[in-house]
Amino acid sequence: MSEREMLLKRVQVCDFALMDAALFLDTHPENQMALDFYKKHLEMRKAAVDAYTSKYGPLVHTDYDGGPYWNWVEGPWPWQHQEEA
């Protein structure tokens, strides 16, 4: 697994955990354990997104780094293999 794939996987793992916790919290809004779980993964996600986007470009276009070039449309797209991008 490349470093890019590894950093992306971290974001994906956090997002999956957050999505699942959100579904639970929608019907259990005061569950402290779930709130702590969400908070922990939210922090992990922020670190993972920073690590990924600083090296491999934006995940959403608002990840724009302020630089002189708009790299949002650059591949690889999520459905492309590395070599065809």
Partner: protein
């Protein structure tokens, strides 16, 4: 993937409720030739698109719709 934002893209203020117009607008949104159907077409066409910047703009238009 897509995420939901709990806000409108553009503020809406309805002064005079108009059910007939609302029906047309709802069809324009979810009907057979509506925004949702168009967005799905953009997002599928981009898979066979040979240019990165066109893939990008199809993604963004499909997302916007």
């Amino acid at each position: 993937m897509w995420t939901y934002s709990k806000k409108l893209q553009y503020p809406v203020k309805i002064k005079n409720p108009n059910p007939a117009a609302a029906k047309i607008i709802m069809t324009q949104l979810g009907g057979p030739d509506g925004e949702l159907a168009a967005s799905m077409r953009y997002l599928h066409q981009r898979y066979s698109c040979p240019y990165g910047e066109v893939t990008g703009i199809l993604t963004d238009i499909g997302t916007e719709e």
